[in-house]
């Protein structure tokens, strides 16, 4: 089944949230690292947020 990645950028704070719902293990870490580097080396925190997507549940990676 195809996976989807969603980035949400808040216009007020300019914070970027990367939703990697459905990813786990190496695949998740590779994308976490890539987006983390792109976003200035900020730590990408893994956070369980199942309500984020009603269809695809799983881990959500949020950058701060």
């Amino acid at each position: 089944m195809a996976k989807f990645v969603t980035a949400t950028i808040d216009h007020e704070t300019a914070e970027v949230e990367i939703d990697l719902a459905g990813y786990k293990g190496k695949g998740c870490h590779a994308l976490q690292d890539a987006f983390s580097k792109a976003l200035g080396g900020k730590t990408v925190v893994e956070k369980k947020k199942p309500e984020f997507n009603a269809v695809v549940t799983g881990k959500t990676c949020i950058t701060r």
Binding site: A7, D10, H11, A14
Partner: protein, 144 residues
């Protein structure tokens, strides 16, 4: 006043900075790119020396005729210490290029940056939607 002031930005990637400037309304053909920082000029065509006694210089420049009426050059200079581009904006133009404008640039830069990252990761870009004060960018992972 044409006195230049320096503002830090989060922009590290030059191409994404240019994409962000385009998103903010400037045309690509009006954006100069220089490996070596070049002199900025005020509305009279005079070389200025406000942020640097050797001359205000920038690597990414929008010349004054493309900024607006009676404007000064708008520049972004690569800061070798931080690896980010500092915005060099004249006091006169800080009415247009104010904190709100810089915030918009930051958002546009982040958009360009995450789109580029997704592409480099081999994700298929599905689109960008702006609503409720947020931009949502979506990709499909077809690599598996």
């Amino acid at each position: 006043m044409s006195e230049y002031r320096k503002s830090t930005t989060n922009c590290k990637d030059r191409e994404c900075l240019i994409e962000a400037l385009i998103e903010m309304g400037y045309k690509r053909e009006h954006i100069e790119i220089h490996e070596t920082a070049q002199q900025l000029y005020d509305y009279t065509g005079r070389a200025t020396h406000y942020t640097d006694p050797k001359g205000d210089r920038a690597n990414v420049i929008v010349r004054r005729q493309f900024v607006g009426g009676a404007a000064n050059d708008l520049g972004f200079k690569l800061n070798p210490e931080t690896g980010t581009y500092d915005a060099i904006i004249s006091a006169y133009d800080s009415g247009k290029h104010n904190a709100q404008w810089l915030k918009g640039l930051k958002v546009s830069y982040s958009e360009a940056n995450v789109i580029k990252t997704g592409k480099l990761q081999g994700l298929k870009f599905l689109g960008k939607v702006k609503e409720n004060g947020k931009t949502q960018i979506r990709w499909m992972d077809t690599r598996l």
